[in-house]
Symmetry: C2
Subunit: 632 residues, 2 copies
């Protein structure tokens, strides 16, 4: 009775979603329970300031807090802006979620880069008609099955059988009148199905990213992807960045379990979506191949990830993990197997291994560089005989975080920018809609264009002497206006600030230094590099010239550069359909040399030299001399 | 409220146990819930008549039923005797359980026959001090562990790790400051324990019998049994005989699960008892080796056993089953392994395989016969090069069932009988107490002695012409009185009836024919047999001369005969402490030839010939000619 009296109604607009809540509950939690995704990068701790909502009836909610005052401008406060994670409901209330706070499904290169591989999935099916037992043939059920299978395929001797399948075996064989299909994972029988089901055999390749989970449903007969889906990682309610989540998980087993559950929930959502879209029964999905960074991998398997985030950044294991679907709570075939690719190190996870597999650089005689740009950037250098890798903290700038108007590469993000000689700006947004902010690829463009036009110098300093309304002072220092108020979806200007540029310089210096140090270790100059693969979720593509102008990547000729998109899921798919690829991955992590930059005595100097645009030693970037001229 | 009004109080004497029950509940069920074990051989179906109780206040209970009238004598009815499974309580009542209805823990040869085997358990421990990770040694936890183990033992490369252990690995390693003990089962890491625990490593050998569960707790460092325990199989509430239980299980998955649960409960009771008695922590019990007949094996693993009981009597599998303790609900170390010995056929189970292992007949160059007498009797003939086996239905007579005053070999059972020339009887009881009934070994003695003294003829017919008060007519025909009223614990005479003798003839004919057919198949005469092993729960020993007199076993010289007691648990223990024994068992079931008597065209004639005492062809029993003379 008491509960009913303390209930209030909350309506979320523009969704028209009505839910009940208790008096005193946070808008942020109510939204989460209602399935209304509100942006957040701090998990509701009042730190990121991204969870803005508009509430007109201020009497229906708690008073404005100091935290909110720090994050909101006075004009926002007057307009009814509040932080969802700081505001409690007191009465029935309408909460409007403004466009910039809506967590949108990112527009992704979910198909990624893909090479052709020979089809040799670990899951196989075999239709068998067994002889019925008689008094003169009293072989036990399992041995009868084995011997029939072995008559067909020599290598089927000595198979093992899953205990859950064994328990059902006598009944299944008799109910199906000895006409069955064997399902095998490697050398283990994981299923015995009545009749001939050999045409229904599927697998799911999954990339569990910090921000999103991407899945490909693959027909294991053809090796073809038949459905794809992608969702926000539900763990984001505990913070968008991984360190916040690790901190949460490190506080207790229950927290870790909750984060694991959220990852599993996310995977199940992707699984159900791809199955619905393709008409496939989830029980015919016999293997799920997952990749993800080391922390996500640990979260998903319920392994404490905190030591991955503490020096010396040691993971729980390197080799692939394989667990029964039902033991993890994954809704695929219960005796099916969820398996991961192996990992290299705390900061070089299964997703990075998938990248390598996907590009095939480990099979090439030529030298390649692979850069997977993210909050953490992994760099691989080498060829089929020798591979070196390292990882560097490049911050979330490329994914739009820690940038004043930054956002991920989703609808509404400016993705390309061109500045002309009058300092006028042309831009394109993802989805062709009014802009909400800038994503990573656009920031690369802006900074490169600003540098080419002398708006910033080699130190990244904005030249206050240039006369243009786009260059102006704010209370955070100088900034450059990309889009004016009336052009944007938010009604506020989109700018790049001096602080944003500094943030970017740190990021690109880290990435370039990582490449440079590995190249030196291998004795490779830019001319000896035959391929430079760039992977990451910074946007649909990077302008390679601009990437070189800002000194993000080594100065190789542009035709050697390949944007490979979401290679992690492509690599996962290859491993799903090919046992050889899986073995190659295991061999890879055994032989690859991980170079710990934190322990490299040259890294600091390299990094400092790389802070300049493009670099303190301009000789490293001969191809962009022409732009330097236009500046000087 | 209603429930309380319908409650009655029931007191069980001589225990003084008071419980609540509902009006209309069966005394049998109330007793079961109260933990008062009442004898039953039919699971409460009113068939066996063994569940007698005494209730003086007939107004407090339901009326005498027709079923009860068929089982109870009029003097019993006058004394207040009732069948617990047919009597419902109406009011508060006192129920007395007479001595003959008390289900007693059987006196067993729980130590059994045991040979010395080389200690090589599958479970091993290894104490390790791992180097701590540093920035220059960033090997993952698992690989660090593996490599340290491999430095100590070459064969520790490529070990697998249990997923539950993996999940805990980072925390355990750090909390224990890298000082740990590895627990391995075969090539799988099943535990990582802080500090040096290598002196605490135990296993449990279990024989899951139809009527009892016997366990040996074994120290795997020394191979020594340190505690033994035995309990009634809790499945007996669903019938003492296995067919009743299989019928119950065949009716639905829930029934099968319930029988599995009861078996697991029983095992846990034995486990806790041996651990308590020896001060061992059940979590230091890393492996449980179980043996049992094929139906018990299937029950325990939750596999539908009904096809084992239907022609052609096919089991679910032959090879050993290994399941994680926690997946079965066994209270040992959760990631420990419960494993079975392999089985040969529907009627030659893991217990029979254990028998062979225990006797070592599969290693001998000499020829042996092994007879494991039970409701179902298994016979093995052969040597290390060749083994034949078969199974025959010998009925429960040897275990005391289907015999008027039969009982199992527990305290109060007459176990030895001698008849002198005046037809006077001398007997010994187990425990030296007043007799309650006769067990299998005593019936062998009685029949042999009766035959030697001409009380029965070669057809087993009682000679009514003999003048002795011990030979008398009853309403079931002639009977021989072994103990008079005033000598017994029940106050009633203990007799062997003509019907009992017939029952015994059927049993011994089946067993002898099985031996004879296998010997013929191997071309072995009695002289070529070097050992005759007799196993079974018919009593502490059989008089070998008497066994030959009645024609139960082939006429080999008595010094070749070995009574090996409960060899099943001895074989289980050998397999527990020796990987070689386990491998031998796997090889055994691969190479052994199972001979199906049901399909043997000679069996019927052999059986009919063997019904005579000792046999239609007296030439087969030359050693007992002397007794024949005294008769003629
Ligand atoms: S401040 Fe509210 S979510 Fe970060
Ligand atoms: S008659 Fe009551 S238990 Fe058998």
């Amino acid at each position: 009775m008491g509960d009913i009296m303390n209930d209030v109604k909350v309506v979320f607009e523009p969704y028209g979603k009505r839910v009940k809540a208790s008096v005193g509950e946070l808008v942020f939690s109510i939204a989460e329970k209602a399935g209304v995704a509100i942006r957040s990068e701090c998990g509701g701790r009042g730190v990121c300031g991204k969870c803005k909502v508009i509430i007109l009836d201020q009497n229906a909610i708690s008073k404005l807090s100091d935290i909110e005052m720090n994050h909101l401008t006075s004009s926002e406060i007057i307009s009814g802006y509040r932080l969802a994670c700081q505001t409690r409901v007191l009465k029935n209330v309408v909460v409007a979620v403004p466009p910039e706070s809506i967590m949108q499904p990112p527009k992704l290169m979910i198909l990624g880069f893909e090479r052709d591989v020979k089809l040799s999935p670990v899951v196989r099916k075999l239709h068998l008609l067994l002889p019925e037992p008689t008094l003169s043939d009293i072989r036990p059920d399992f041995e009868r099955l084995l011997e029939s299978a072995q008559e067909r395929f020599k290598d089927f001797g000595g198979l093992d059988i899953d205990y859950d399948v064994l328990k059902m075996l006598p009944e299944i064989l008799r109910r199906s009148h000895w006409d069955i299909t064997l399902v095998m994972w490697d050398r283990r029988i994981i299923g015995v199905e009545p009749g001939d089901t050999s045409d229904r055999i599927f697998g799911l390749a999954l990339d569990i990213g910090t921000s999103k989970i991407v899945g490909h449903l693959v027909d294991l007969k053809s090796g073809r992807t038949i459905a794809v889906a992608s969702i926000e990682n539900p763990q984001a309610v505990y913070g968008e960045d991984i360190i916040t989540r690790i901190t949460h998980a490190s506080k207790g087993d229950a927290n870790l379990k909750e984060l694991q559950r959220l990852a599993v929930d996310g995977i199940n959502k992707v699984l159900h979506e791809v199955c619905e879209n393709s008409g496939v029964d989830p029980f015919n999905v016999y293997e799920v191949m997952i990749v993800g960074n080391t922390a996500m991998h640990h979260f998903f398997f319920g392994i404490q990830p905190k030591y991955v985030a503490q020096s010396p950044y040691v993971p729980a294991l390197r080799k692939a993990v394989s667990v029964k679907a039902k033991d993890l709570g994954v809704d695929a075939y219960p005796c099916g197997i969820v398996t991961s690719l192996p990992i290299v190190a705390g900061f070089v996870g299964a997703d990075a291994v998938a990248d390598v597999i996907a590009t095939g650089m480990h099979e090439l005689s030529e030298n390649s560089i692979l850069i997977d740009i993210g909050t953490n950037t992994e760099v691989f250098v080498g060829n089929r005989d020798y591979l070196l890798c390292c990882s560097c903290a490049s911050g979330p700038a490329f994914e739009g975080a820690h940038i004043k108007h930054g956002m991920r590469a989703v609808t509404g993000a400016i993705e390309k920018v061109h500045i002309d000689n009058n300092f006028d700006v042309k831009y394109e947004t993802i989805g062709g809609v009014k802009p909400l902010g800038v994503c990573g690829s656009a920031v690369i463009d802006v900074i490169a264009e600003m540098f080419k036009h002398g708006i910033i110098d080699a130190n990244g300093r904005i030249n206050s002497q240039i006369e243009s309304p786009r260059i102006r002072a704010s209370n955070e220092g100088l900034e450059f206006v990309i889009a004016w108020k009336d052009e944007t979806a938010t009604g506020r200007e989109i700018t790049v600030t001096q602080k944003d540029i500094r943030e970017f310089q740190l990021a690109k210096a880290a990435i370039y230094s990582a490449c440079s140090i590995l190249m030196k270790k291998r004795g490779l100059s830019e001319e000896k590099i035959d391929f430079l693969f760039i992977a990451g979720a910074f946007g649909n593509y990077i302008n390679p010239e601009n990437a070189k102008v800002i000194g993000l990547i080594p100065d190789v000729t542009s035709e050697k550069i390949r944007f490979v998109g979401n290679t992690a899921v492509a690599g996962a798919k290859m491993a799903l359909i090919s046992k050889e690829m899986r073995n190659a991955a295991e061999q890879l992590v055994e032989k690859i040399r991980y170079h710990e930059l934190a322990a490299d005595p040259n890294f600091n100097q390299e990094f400092i030299n790389a802070l300049n645009i493009p670099h303190r030693f301009i000789g490293r970037f001969p191809s962009i001399r022409k732009h330097l001229k236009s500046f000087r």
